[in-house]
Symmetry: C2
Subunit: 241 residues, 2 copies
DNA sequence: CACTGGAGTTTACATTGTAAATACCCATGC
DNA sequence: GCATGGGTATTTACAATGTAAACTCCAGTG
């Protein structure tokens, strides 16, 4: 991926059609590997992803992957980048906005879509060490940041304000979506119960919590997200002054 | 940690004085192990923490740890809990507040203090699967949540509002602090450079970014944190209505 | 045909988490 | 004194992992 590629490579047509039961043995390539990794984590969770298993998933021995990927850590970086590129596509597909408010809304929803679609991957997106110190998670793509800043510029934001907005925006998305994806993941699996060590959730000794258990349980993430987003936009309005 | 303990146990005096070069061989216990783990991660990073190395750090073989801790995963849960207990102490030490605004400020700053003190651990705090679905990171302690809700109650918040505030508060802290701690970690080490794969940060093709590199670099986390906090409080004011 | 270079495999090894068996030690029975 | 026993730490062992190095296989070129 040194040579950045749009949707053009050795395989434009026939996208996403490799099954676990190997097809006619198309030769490996980086994209195939990354896509397989994304899919694998989505299904089995990050902790189950090993080079050997990913290899098997692609009908190949583990070591074959190393010709296309420097190592596991970098593979994970690639996964993050891959997922965020999904975002980039979503975003640009969404038609033009008529106001900066709409623009921010669209961007926020696009990121949330990703987070909801890949709850097992999103924590990775959020915690991987940033490749540049000012590339704040979850917005890790230079291309994305560039286009975002451009967008703000087009709506008349001055550079300094744009940066501030970018920061608030990133913080907001990170907080909301990391929480939501964490919960989503939970619902899916429940891999290994950690109770009984350190934490015996005996609510009886926590009266305030018991009193509102119902409200606490209820996800309501979407509502909360929208509310916080509205609020952020409000805040940006002030920044613009 | 089933029997929760304040500062009282086999060792009240002489706190934190175990060096790598074993002392007179005090017998192991869970607290010692957890504290050692926290310290170890602070210094060497999570990825370097192995049972063997932690053992060595305590002057003991790896397997000795298993008498006090079920396994590595649970050890990490314990680390999180340990760090968050630090928060609990900080918070209660801080004297009483005279308004709910002050109260929220104090809590927020307490959490931030932790995040800044343990940047390598905070991502763990943020991403570990929650032991209860409504225990939102980074506020993972039942005790803490209970006391927080109690606090709000004392300032006249109605239950439903308290829950909403708790959520917004958690989201805000998670976003801000995860970003900040991520950056802090970066400055400390730089363990393994991931450049040259997927990401050759050649700014020349990103004009908007280049134009504001300076502003982007500059941390300014504290300022941003305070601003966002003010804003949250503003928002809570509205919620209270 | 021999040959060369790339794609995938085999083999190998150090490191990890952890189970099971063992050795150690100190306090109590006589 | 010595046996004994219960808890604490060590030893040994093993399967799983990431990855280096050598190897096999084969298509395409001279």
């Amino acid at each position: 991926m040194d040579d950045r590629m749009g949707p053009a490579g050795t395989e434009d047509v026939d996208a996403d059609a490799e099954a676990t039961t190997a097809g006619p043995r198309r030769p490996l390539d980086q994209m195939r590997i990354l896509r397989a990794a994304v899919e694998f984590i989505d299904v089995n969770g990050l902790s189950k992803l090993t080079m050997r298993r990913l290899g098997a998933h692609l009908g190949v021995e583990a070591m074959a992957l190393y010709r296309y990927v420097p190592g596991r850590e970098q593979l994970l970086d690639g996964v993050v980048e891959m997922v965020m590129d999904e975002l980039y596509e979503t975003t640009n597909a969404g038609g033009l906005s008529t106001s900066w408010q709409e623009y921010l809304q669209m961007q926020a929803h696009a990121v949330r879509t990703i987070a909801v679609k890949h709850p097992r991957i999103f924590p990775l997106v959020a915690t991987r060490p940033p490749s540049a110190p000012w590339l704040r998670p979850p917005l890790r793509s230079l291309r994305w940041v560039e286009s975002f800043l451009q967008g703000l510029h087009d709506y008349g934001f001055r550079p300094k304000v744009s940066v501030a907005v970018y920061r608030s925006f990133a913080t907001f998305l990170l907080g909301s979506l990391l929480l939501e994806s964490g919960t989503l993941e939970d619902l899916t699996i429940t891999e290994k119960v950690n109770l009984a060590f350190i934490e015996d959730d005996d609510l009886s000794s926590y009266p305030m919590i018991s009193a509102v258990t119902e409200e606490l349980k209820d996800g309501g993430f979407e509502v909360e997200f929208e509310a916080a987003l509205e609020d952020l936009i409000e805040r940006v309005t002030v920044m613009r002054s």
